[in-house]
Subunit: 142 residues, 2 copies
Amino acid sequence: MKSQAFFGSPDDCARAFYDAFAQADLEALMSVWADDEDICCAHPAAAPLYGYAAVRSGWEAILRGSAKMRIEMREESWHRTIGMVTLHAIQWIYVGDEPQPRGPVFVTNVFQREPQGWRLVVHHASPLQTGLQTGPGQVVLH
Amino acid sequence: MKSQAFFGSPDDCARAFYDAFAQADLEALMSVWADDEDICCAHPAAAPLYGYAAVRSGWEAILRGSAKMRIEMREESWHRTIGMVTLHAIQWIYVGDEPQPRGPVFVTNVFQREPQGWRLVVHHASPLQTGLQTGPGQVVLH
């Protein structure tokens, strides 16, 4: 059964998303997403997943790992308009007892206002090479 | 001087964007973007660029290369709501006379309806490893 969670703002929605990830709580994490066949979730370098069921399966596979994970958000950038908000950030991921975080990962989250409150519709995370400059040689890296 | 181009639909906006890229026409390419300090453009694995001036500089550096480039879009997925449209796709990039395209790259484009028509507000492109499955070991790849 899908969640009846209500998020009054995209900020609440984002907080619930990252808290659920840190708690490895699949139900809470999925309650943040819009119940829509068009939602899109792309994990770093992995094929994009579309629709509620596929997105859920993807997170289930990630959260199934025994080590707890926590995401640290840096350089958050919010873009707010009526009915839609975008959050970009650099993410570092702490896994279990590992002393150093993994990353960085660049993420685009898109939230949308629906009759049942704000929901996540896009989570696009991708590996980031720090210090890389944009230029003709770096259009595609491999 | 910034363009006064008008795009009546996100589809027109997307077409103009990729046509301008193929033509290496910086002015046409930038006419597609919202004139906003919050726009975000992330080239594959590179640090994200925010705001019209930085986004323009990034594209200028890419288009400065002598070889013409062309993007082939595959597996397009459009998500349409009032005032906002998201286009996800797999991109393959043909560079000059190279027989094989570079890529694949996964892209999230977000278009927004403004008083002056539809404009691009987010272009997030990231390297994609084909065939990679989502799982605990692939949360972060490096």
